[in-house]
């Protein structure tokens, strides 16, 4: 910039006409506009760069996964290592069970905590619990796996689906609690006042009037959490462990899609790699579908407030 200034100054010294100062600005303008253009292009480039990975991942998962995807994949148990055929049925069943368990365990706590934050805690209490919820959201999922290991696996003496479900519950709690908090905040205060003025006690106002008004948003948030925990691998490694056979017992090791994808992707066999892509396709389709739908709903709700 300073060199531009001196160059302009030199021109100014050489001219005495009344239009000179404007010309200086004009010269600077050219340079400034060039900088502006360059930066605009760079920002646009950043946007392009950010989107490319998503497209690449989705394209490859589709291209590699579709050919290997068939009904047998979802209904058969794995064959012994290296043998062709077989499927990931234990993982499909296991993911459904453990995600269900995690949701059942975590959601009530999360919704109630969200209610406490928004409806009961005063300013400072709300800030504190919100902070704790955010802290919990920021804890690495592998550490949550270690927690479930120490809390459930060690006392029970074996890896189990229960331990996996507990780990997933801990992960879903902050997601659902935050969404509940936000969605309750969207219900106008006048609705609560109307209920109080009728002599309806606060808890009943919340349960019968405020919660129903926020229900769509909260359910959406729960689905968002479900999509998130369905894709978790790290917290299941030393809790649910994995299982080659379909198991429905909560006290036994259980398989899960992400676990199976990890094992197959890092294994040496081509047939495993193909099944890993196909299983990824199933997982990505499910997670993306959930995420897209829930985000659309949540976005609309949040935008409606603004």
């Amino acid at each position: 910039m300073s060199t531009g200034g001196t160059a302009g100054g030199g021109t100014l010294a050489g001219t005495t006409g009344p239009g000179a100062p404007l010309r200086v600005v004009g010269r600077n303008m050219g340079r400034r506009h060039a900088t502006d253009r360059v930066m605009r292009v760079l920002l646009g480039l950043a946007a392009v760069l950010a989107v490319i990975p998503l497209l690449l991942v989705v394209v490859f998962v589709l291209a590699q996964g579709l050919p290997a995807l068939n009904l047998a994949l979802l209904t058969h148990s794995p064959e012994p290592a290296g043998f062709p055929g077989g499927g990931v049925a234990p993982a499909v069943v296991g993911t459904l069970i453990m995600v269900g368990l995690g949701t059942l365990l975590g959601t009530p706590i999360a919704v109630l905590a969200g209610i406490y934050i928004r409806e009961y805690a005063g300013g400072r209490g709300a800030t504190l619990i919100r902070f704790l919820v955010d802290v919990l959201a920021g804890i690495p999922t592998i550490a949550i796996g270690l927690f479930a290991y120490g809390l459930v696996v060690v006392p029970m003496g074996s890896f189990s689906a229960l331990a996996g479900g507990v780990a997933l519950a801990v992960i879903i709690i902050p997601i659902v609690a935050r969404v509940t908090d936000e969605m309750l905040g969207l219900v106008p205060g006048s609705v609560r006042e109307a209920a109080y003025a009728l002599g309806i006690p606060p808890w009943k106002t919340i349960v019968r009037v405020v919660l129903p008004a926020a229900a769509t948003g909260i359910v959406t948030g729960i689905l968002l959490g479900v999509a998130r925990i369905a894709g978790e691998t790290a917290p299941l490694i030393f809790t649910a462990l994995g299982n080659d056979r379909v198991s429905t017992s909560l006290s036994d090791p259980m398989d899960a899609l992400p676990l199976r994808i990890w094992v197959y992707a890092t294994g040496p066999y081509d047939s495993w790699h193909q099944q890993a892509w196909a299983a990824s396709l199933v997982l990505v389709l499910m997670v993306l579908l959930f995420s897209i739908l829930t985000r659309l709903v949540l976005r609309r709700r949040l935008a409606a407030r603004a």
Binding site: L54, L136, I142, A143, K204, G231, E232
Partner: protein, 326 residues
Amino acid sequence: MTAAEFEPGQVQRVLARHRPRRGEPIFRGLVVLASLTVLLVIAGLILVIASQSIEGIRHNGVAFLWGTTWDPVHSIFGALPFIYGTLLTSFTALVLAMLIGVGVALFLVEMAPPWLAGPLGFMTEMLAAIPSVVYGLWGIFVLAPWLRDFVEMPLHDTLGWLPFFSGNPIGIGNFAAVVVLTIMILPTVAAVSRDVIRAVPLAQREAALALGATRWETIRIGVLPYARSGILGAGILGLARGVGETMAVTMVIGNAPTISLSFFSQGYTMASVIANEFTEATTDLYRSSLIEIGLLLLVVTLLINAAARLLVWRASYSAGSRSLLA
């Protein structure tokens, strides 16, 4: 005639028989209990992981933090290769993710027309929805070979004399881990930055525009100074995410406990050594040492997160609850 049945005070008498009694204290108790559970879970996490790592802490001592040898067979546990690998990959990825993420955020808020900003923002958010293990799978079979052939090989041939690009490029290694981590941190950085930038008052921009500033100058003078602390917070949140990220990194970093400056070298991170070796840990001491790494990871991420929240708090909680989607 309805009126004939009407008796003054009838409804009030019915209501009097339905006076609320225990509902309020019970419900209040429930929600307080749920909130306490959140607190208990956090406390429990620290306590359980700490207690499980006591054996390792006793055996390994403080030297755990700078020991460079990880030899479970001889019960020598030094965590430095993992700490180094975590810091190297996270910080490099953070720098890249900040450049791209803040750029996307500025593009979305300051430049993009609404028809573009909506879908584009949506797609950045969706980056966070793809499961980590799928990034890992993609990293192994697509990203790593591509990096090897089109990035690492040329770099090796031209700049191989630099320590960063020495060694034999095979795709799997620190570089692939950095790229995958960048992709995974990006949505966090972009979403939080976007909220923070959006929260900058319009008046700041107008003041700059009224001085005849160009678009970029407006951003530089009117927007960035006000969003600085929030963007810094976004970066720290991204860092916490990167440090704790496990699967994708584990799958592409090569899992070798070496300390090397080279991006082509294989490495190991704290999270990935736990994921990889935990179920193979044959002795209690081995397992406990792994959990000790987990304890270290937990403490580090807790500190990073707390710092980030304190920085971002005001900017993102009120202005953009959208960041909860990231």
